[in-house]
Symmetry: C2
Subunit: 221 residues, 2 copies
């Protein structure tokens, strides 16, 4: 299992699932998708725990989105499965990630039909923590992920609430583009997203059967 | 200067400029942008000359867009220049690329406010040829790029027609996200884009002062 700095330096794409928790779809007034919905973040947006704060670009309303992340261990191309057991072989490890989003930039892009790359792609817009081994995280569809801002819980939900489970996500992505060893997949965010400003402290983590997972505790300014 | 297969294997992002030639903006009924407009293609879409044909995903109306590409040689972050001489140091070499686009997928994304990642990101959707050295291509704002389909010229224009020149492109991108050594920047396509179907042959190339550049002649099925 590669260390977190190696995960960052080996990553060639970060593929994000959007609109994958029903209550989050509702809170942003979006339509519930009929199939997994995905977009790219650049590897240059990855931020390690010791690399300092998330930088807010001027004029940008910056939102947090806590997400369970997968580190791909083996090439996936044209996969077609809904079977949880079958996808294990393709996952090297798990991480926790914040899909930082310039919400006003994204809203403008959505209105004008522009790409999302800028809203999602600023430097520092993808803090990550971990990794967690597959031995420790045996069921990715049954972990609680949470994010607090200045001590107040903003997001806290179980990944069992995903609209499209991980086998379907990986299958659909891999029919469009090959997932390579080292790529990262973010599996979507539960409800509760919101803004942070410079100086706010985000604390995130994960619980398995109610027990805190120390490897992915993350504190980001 | 890295060889083309090394350029492919080292590339972590392909950043594309959209709407950068006035007549192309008009032909797609788009608005002329007030600033450079850009989006990501995944490195997994890169296709080398010996890797076979562009694959048309079923149901996708596949369009070609011939573009001059830059291979980044040195980290660019927060650059602010309009000076052609100043950006030379950041460019390792030049390539020719086809920004293949699922036009119907993109049109639907634009209408619905969805990201462009799928329309632009299919495997094989970024054929490349080259590289050409900076010694040979001394003025990137004065080369003719062309693309023929089944022998018929579809695109043929000089890069002097770019709405935003390369220093401005690199400056604007680098204020959003760091450009790393090995990244590729595609500088936009001139007028004449159109569909190809399986079996069509695209022949592309570049002329400097009317003289064919052998390094980037490309034939893609
Ligand atoms: Mg997200
Ligand atoms: Mg996009
Ligand atoms: Mg293009």
């Amino acid at each position: 299992m590669a260390a977190l700095n190696t995960i960052k330096s080996n990553c060639r794409k970060v593929m994000c699932i959007g609109r994958n928790y029903a209550d989050h779809v509702t809170e942003l007034n979006n339509q519930r998708p009929k199939q997994p919905f995905f977009f790219l973040k650049p590897a240059s947006s990855l931020l390690l725990p010791d690399e300092g704060p998330v930088l807010r670009p001027s004029g940008v309303n910056m939102h947090f989105e806590i997400e369970l992340g997968l580190v791909i261990g083996k090439t996936i191309r044209d996969l077609d499965t809904e079977d949880d057991a079958e996808i294990e072989q393709y996952i090297e490890s798990y991480i926790l990630a914040i899909d930082m989003t310039g919400r006003n930039v994204q809203e403008e892009a959505k209105k004008k039909g522009y790409p999302w790359s800028i809203a999602k792609g600023f430097d520092t817009f993808c803090p990550i923590a971990g990794p967690i081994s597959k031995e420790k995280l045996t069921d990715p569809h049954n972990v609680e992920i949470y994010l607090k801002v200045n001590g107040e819980t903003k997001q806290q939900d179980n990944t069992e609430l995903m609209l499209f489970r991980i086998p379907r996500q990986l299958s659909d992505i891999s029919k469009v583009m090959t997932l390579e060893k080292g790529d990262i997949v973010l599996t979507g965010t539960p409800k509760g997203v919101g803004p942070v400003v410079t100086g706010d402290v985000m604390e995130c983590g994960m619980r398995i059967n109610g027990k805190e997972v120390e490897e992915v505790k993350m504190r980001v300014e």
